[in-house]
Symmetry: C2
Subunit: 162 residues, 2 copies
């Protein structure tokens, strides 16, 4: 029924025959990045830059550290990105009058325009990816991603092994 490598020789198929999730998610992410990079480059914005604009399009943020955590980055890592975005007039970064240590971060109208233009192009590309799925698969896939991306390692119970 199965050969030496453990693959099934008959036509049956079990979910446990699948590859590890990581072995499938990794190439998918690479594919998404390959699709997005040319679009971002055409608009002269980096991946982190787009990520910052996306976060700020949901509303202003009071400190850089808060913003960094929201996009899964480090506070030291986004400084260069914020410099670029500010120089390009895509965000404003002003000291909070009530606490001059903090920087009030806000997207500008032009930043919003840029972010939404980029998103529209990315969505168009994503459409051609999702078009390879059936409607059922597509809906469930997106829903599953929303659920799983909200989990953190601490949410996982131990289940015997490991």
């Amino acid at each position: 029924m199965t050969d030496r490598a453990g693959r099934r020789r008959d036509s049956t198929r079990r979910e446990s025959d699948r590859r590890d999730l990581g072995a499938m998610v990794h190439p998918v992410l690479r594919l998404l990045i390959a699709v997005e990079l040319p679009i971002l480059a055409a608009h002269e914005v980096s991946m982190w830059g787009y990520s910052v604009l996306t976060a700020l399009d949901d509303g202003p943020v009071r400190t850089q550290a808060t913003l960094a955590e929201a996009i899964g980055a480090d506070k030291t890592r986004i400084i260069g990105t914020l410099d670029e975005l500010q120089d390009a007039g895509l965000i404003s970064r002003t000291p909070d009058p009530n606490d001059r240590r903090a920087r009030l971060l806000e997207i500008t109208d032009e930043g919003r325009r840029l972010r939404r233009a980029v998103r529209a192009e990315i969505r168009a590309k994503e459409e051609s990816l999702l078009a390879t799925l059936t409607p059922t698969e597509r809906t469930a896939f997106v829903r599953a991603l929303e659920k799983l991306s909200a989990l953190s390692p601490e949410d996982l119970p131990d289940r015997g092994l490991s």
Copy 2:
């Protein structure tokens, strides 16, 4: 109906309200890595090492470059990994008698044991992730990953924009 940031204020929900796929897939991959790393460390094998063992458990490979491409790596990048695996007795690496430039790569019995033990632990952890999904979502999610991970950028047609 929607506020300034474009979010819907009523209870309706559209798929287009979702985040970009990359913004969801990235944290999922990070979660999977966070789950796998402790398991791999306990067995003293690296991520690339496990990836190599997994590929070779499907059958031997005649050249290192072929193996590298199969796991989405560079031929120069896996050399250190192959050295470690060989030193640990997990793979064999012998010059092909017919073409002594090539190295015949094969997993050893111990390598196979290790790989399958690691996989079992990873699968157990993945179970607790997938348990957050409904059965329908789970099946479709895995099927969608299988489809999407098989795509390459060239498979994508241009669709107007970008």
